[in-house]
């Protein structure tokens, strides 16, 4: 880890100003991934701007029934929040399926979204990685890639995004609130993360200097049945091999609203728009779910050693969706 300067701004505005004043700066949240990567030499900031004490650590119910979650709310607190557990249970479940109790106590909402891939080639300075250094190649493509992407990968990068939380936020139509030099803006969580394309070094749509200030869970998905399920190599404390978050509203015997997202299949949480579209207006039957999920996964392009992810994701999705409707319907 190279040496760096440390500053602790008192407000979001000060943070943005500090970023502008310090070339090579990075924001520091819980640090559970950033400090890890700094130790590996993958991240080499000149300055850390500590945003953990900014007043972004509250969860606030908005008048329209939405919920604003401050970017500095810790993962464990968000998972335990009564309103989250009650109205957006998939989010709580996703958080609790990730990492460990210790890490969740430190990791922040904003930092969780900005965590980087756990691709071993990205983490090893001795091996090629286009995400770390464009042009060096992708070590995983011919190397070990059981955990890598089956959807949306590019010749340059086959990494997956490691977050559980982000998968739930994507399915739940959350929005990510940002603050930058041009002031605040927000983007849908489902569009926040990118596919690698020709720029695998860019994980998200965040602009230089922008700070995540919060996440808003919309009223439209609040109170609906939602679930998160993850498959992993060990029973706890492991990244997903595949995961699914889904929210469903059934009205008059047909699907009136659906949000489905896959984790660990792609460079970003994979919002299953095609499956959702297929479900809208359909009776929520096992056959309908199978048809929808198969439509979504039809474009999967497994690599040499990760074809299992497609049926795994399919089965997880069918199980999660089935759990969202009364059994009598199926």
């Amino acid at each position: 880890m190279k040496t760096f300067a440390y500053v602790r701004p008192g407000s979001v505005e000060e943070a943005a100003a500090a970023f502008a004043d310090h070339p090579g700066a990075r924001y520091l949240g819980g640090g559970t991934n950033l400090v890890d990567l700094m130790k590996l030499g993958v991240e080499r900031p000149e300055t850390l701007i500590d945003v953990t004490r900014l007043p972004l650590d509250t969860v606030e119910e908005l008048p329209d029934g939405a919920l604003r979650v401050g970017a500095m709310v810790r993962n464990s607190d968000l998972a335990a929040h009564p309103v989250v557990r009650d109205r957006w249970p998939a989010l709580s479940q996703a958080l609790l399926a990730g990492a460990s109790g210790q890490l969740r106590n430190a990791a922040t909402t904003g930092g969780n979204l900005l965590q980087r891939t756990r691709c071993p080639y990205f983490q090893d300075l001795g091996k090629p990685c286009n995400k770390r250094q464009m042009g060096s190649g992708c070590g995983a493509r011919e190397g070990v890639h059981r955990d890598h992407a089956v959807l949306g990968h590019s010749p340059h990068c086959i990494a997956t995004h490691p977050s559980d939380m982000a998968v739930a936020l994507s399915a739940l139509d959350a929005r990510v609130e940002l603050h930058g030099a041009d002031g605040p803006r927000s983007v849908p969580a489902a569009d926040f993360h990118r596919l690698p394309g020709d720029h695998p070094e860019r994980d998200t749509e965040i602009r230089p200097g922008e700070l995540i200030t919060g996440v808003v869970l919309p009223a439209a998905t609040g109170g609906l049945p939602s679930r998160y399920r993850k498959a992993r190599d060990r029973a706890s404390y492991a990244f997903a091999l595949a995961s699914v978050a889904a929210v469903l509203r059934v009205s008059d015997g047909v699907v009136a609203q659906a949000g489905i997202a896959f984790g660990a299949l792609a460079h970003r949480p994979w919002r299953a728009r095609r499956a959702e579209a297929a479900l809208l207006g359909a009776a929520p039957t096992a056959a309908a779910f199978e048809h929808a999920v198969d439509l979504e996964l039809a474009d999967a392009q497994p690599l040499r050693d990760n074809a299992y992810k497609v049926p795994l994701a399919r089965r997880l999705a069918l199980d999660v969706l089935a759990g969202l409707v009364p059994s009598a319907t199926l």
């Binding site: 760096f4 440390y6 640090g31 464990s76």
Partner: protein, 189 residues
């Protein structure tokens, strides 16, 4: 007493002024003010600057839990926390787990009684983590195995499945897990 610096060998000599900072922590009840290399994580501060070797460096990357301590009462991986960012925080390590006048914390006694360790390297982290688990469950924090339908805000009863899931961030290669679970069960109020 009070604010002091331990004779940490190379403290701050490896960093230029703009790469170091003053930080004040209360460690096991004692205020400590140190000038630290900004790179220094809490784990290394405890071990190198304060001579508190209880928190262990098993992986240095948040992947094993041997470094677990309590910061403001919450269990965390001290290997991933920059000391400079903890200015003003209250740190409890295994050395400070037992309360004033207490010889051993009940968890420490239970770990001995149940033979809940072998090599002992993960043990301080297991103990601090278990202390955190008890507090989290009492505060109603759910886990991955808690029934999502369980009402919020009420203490979560810790059965064996809950204990196992909640302690899963603390790896033990000697395989003392079953005895650790028994030890934690022993101290559940």
């Amino acid at each position: 007493m009070g604010s002091q610096q331990h004779g940490g060998s190379g403290q701050d000599t490896a960093a230029s002024p703009r790469h170091r900072s003053d930080t004040t922590l209360r460690v096991n009840g004692t205020p400590r003010t140190l000038t630290v290399d900004n790179r220094r994580v809490l784990l290394d501060l405890l071990r190198e600057d304060l001579g508190l070797i209880g928190a262990k460096k098993g992986c240095d990357h948040g992947q094993c839990g041997a470094c677990t301590v309590l910061v403001d009462g919450r269990r965390v991986n001290s290997c991933l926390l920059l000391a400079v960012a903890l200015d003003g925080c209250e740190i409890t390590t295994v050395e400070g787990l037992a309360g004033d006048g207490e010889e051993l914390h009940p968890l420490q006694r239970a770990f001995r009684k149940r033979d809940a360790f072998q090599c002992g390297y993960c043990t301080p982290g297991q103990l601090c983590s278990a202390a955190g688990v008890l507090a989290e469950a009492a505060a109603g924090h759910p886990s991955h195995v808690t029934d999502p339908a369980r009402p919020s805000g009420e203490p979560v009863p810790l059965d064996r499945e809950e204990i196992r899931e909640r302690l899963s961030g603390n790896l033990c290669r000697c395989g003392a897990y079953p005895h650790i679970v028994e030890a934690v069960e022993d101290v559940i109020p």
